[in-house]
Amino acid sequence: MSNLRFSKDHEWIRLDGATGTVGITDYAQNALGDVVFVEPPEAGRELNRGDEAGVIESVKAASEVYAPVGGTVIAGNEALAENPALVNADPLGEGWIFTITLSDPGELDGLMDEAAYQSYVEGLA
């Protein structure tokens, strides 16, 4: 899990070469409750770090998904259109939201590793 990084907005990114896969954390999906709709960014969209990349609606709220790093969107997770509950069931796996080609891999240094994120989340309680 050493290639996983986390943002303070509760997104995760997993790096595989120059490609990152982005989703929301288990803490985030638990806070949102049952997810009923996900709007991932469309392929080809240019995002800066912190840009609004998509929207997640749960039975409780509608929330934005922010880009943890800048880059170009490769694809949104099409499986979420049929089955948005994947975000609840498997947030770090099949519930991924989009893939991105990083414009500056150095931006990963601004994110937390798993241990740092764990203590960050514990601090929120």
Partner: protein, 448 residues
């Protein structure tokens, strides 16, 4: 809570508390010359009967469409409204205060709005319609904003044959949001090359059908041209009854339909309140503005209606909402729904046919007059006529003869070229052969 006016003592106490000697001192920043010297020059008070008599005298100076042969249209259309519409409108089942947030006490209103949405979607040939917007022009502006959200582009192409009020509303609502509006010139003859104005930065092209001059056209090629560039086609309909006779925008590739629904169940009423129709494709429903009623089941499996997809709206998403004009025109939408329900599908087609036939008869008769030429070749119930004299003067002259001859195009398009002599004439089922004869005789007299 009681509302009692202040007496002199209250006023004195308040002025003392803030340290001012008189109320006038509070206005010391207003320039001297702008302050009225002495009381306003108004007549003294009158009793209720006197006031009524005075207002009746004032109203008597109007020439209302109900009291004269009327051929007015240009975005607001007179049609016969059966008395049953108003009777049903005032039934208790529909008496819900304001927005039906509480479905358990609002099933009547919610079901009617659900039916209204279904009717609007069927009329426009679209997949989903909302519970109405403020009016046709704001619906058109909302459609432009929606196209911008979907495409993430800012260039807007407007047909020059879009109702000028709609173009102005779009301009007003996008004034501070950075849209770049490209409007084709208002011209009445020849074909518009809107497709040539679309490029890969265009969010949408807005076109009206029937257009401002009454012309009906096939929009399929324009839809294809827009889609080729990743732009959306927005179709505006100002005469909803036309959808009972002509091909609906949805069948011609429209992505959003924005329309005025006044024609069904709602009187002209000096221009309002009216209701905006708004319909789109299912895939864009999350970007749609306005209230949306959905059908569901309750805990016992019984059918019920609720407001749905509310996360688009400002009471959930605030500044991220798809629109900040969140009120639908509930009562007007209900009148629309009742009138259309009473007509039924066959009745709608019959009414549309009557209107079209009346227009054909009228256009042929006007075209035979010396000094009048019908310019619109393919129309539904409204067409443009070129006169040998300025249309405004002709309309005034006919009004003096007790006939409302139509709307001079230059009134809505001041400064546009070659509009001075253009008169917009609308036919409908309320006009009798005597009405038509009065118009023709008046025109003949004035134009000769």
């Amino acid at each position: 809570m009681r509302y009692l006016p202040l007496d002199a003592q209250d006023r004195r106490a308040m002025l003392e508390a803030i340290g001012v000697a008189s109320v006038d001192e509070l206005f010391c920043d207003v320039p001297r010359e702008a302050i009225l010297d002495g009381p306003v020059d108004l007549p003294g008070h009158q009793g209720e009967q006197e006031v009524l008599r005075h207002l009746r005298d004032l109203a008597g100076r109007n020439l209302p469409t109900s009291a004269a042969p009327s051929f007015l249209g240009a975005g607001a259309y007179r049609h016969f409204i059966p008395a049953s519409v108003e009777y049903l409108l005032s039934r208790g089942e529909f008496l819900t205060a304001y927005t039906p947030y509480q479905p358990e006490i609002s099933q009547g209103t919610l079901q009617a709005l659900f039916e209204f949405q279904t009717q609007t979607a069927m009329l426009t040939g679209m997949e989903v319609a909302n519970a109405s917007l403020y009016d046709g022009s704001t619906a058109a502006a909302e459609a432009v904003l929606m196209a911008r959200r979907i495409t993430r582009r800012k260039k807007i192409v407007l047909s020059g044959r879009l109702h000028p009020h709609y173009a102005q509303t779009i301009a007003t609502m996008t004034r501070y949001t950075g849209e770049n509006i490209l409007a084709a010139p208002a011209s009445i003859e020849g074909a518009e090359d809107l497709a040539g104005m679309i490029d890969d930065e265009t969010a949408c092209v807005v076109v009206q059908n029937p257009d401002f001059f009454g012309a009906v056209g096939d929009l399929s090629a324009l839809a294809a041209a827009a889609h080729d560039q990743g732009a959306l086609l927005i179709v505006v309909v100002t005469e909803a009854l036309s959808l009972g006779a002509i091909r609906p925008p949805g069948d011609m590739g429209a992505d959003i339909v924005a329309g005025e629904g006044q024609s069904f169940g709602n009187p002209l009423s000096y221009g309002g309140p009216y209701l905006g129709l708004f319909a789109t494709r299912q895939r864009y429903v999350r970007q749609m503005p306005g209230r949306l009623v959905g059908q569901t089941v309750d805990a016992d499996g019984r059918r019920g209606y609720v407001l749905t997809l509310s996360t688009r709206e400002q009471h959930i998403r605030r500044e991220k909402a798809t629109s900040n004009i969140c009120t639908n025109s509930g009562l007007c939408a209900l009148a629309f729904c009742i009138h259309l329900t009473l007509l039924g599908e066959a009745g709608l087609r019959r009414l549309a046919t009557l209107n079209h036939e009346a227009a054909i008869t009228l256009a042929a008769a006007i075209d035979r007059l010396a000094g009048a030429e019908v310019v619109t070749k393919a129309f539904f119930n409204e067409f443009a006529v070129r006169l040998s004299r300025p249309a405004g003067a002709v309309v005034e002259a006919l009004a003096a003869r007790g006939v409302l001859a139509g709307v001079p195009a230059a009134r809505l398009l001041p400064g546009a070229g070659q509009m001075e002599t253009i008169l917009l004439v609308a036919a409908n089922e309320t006009q009798t052969s005597e009405d038509r004869a009065a118009l023709l005789a008046g025109l003949e007299e004035v134009l000769s």
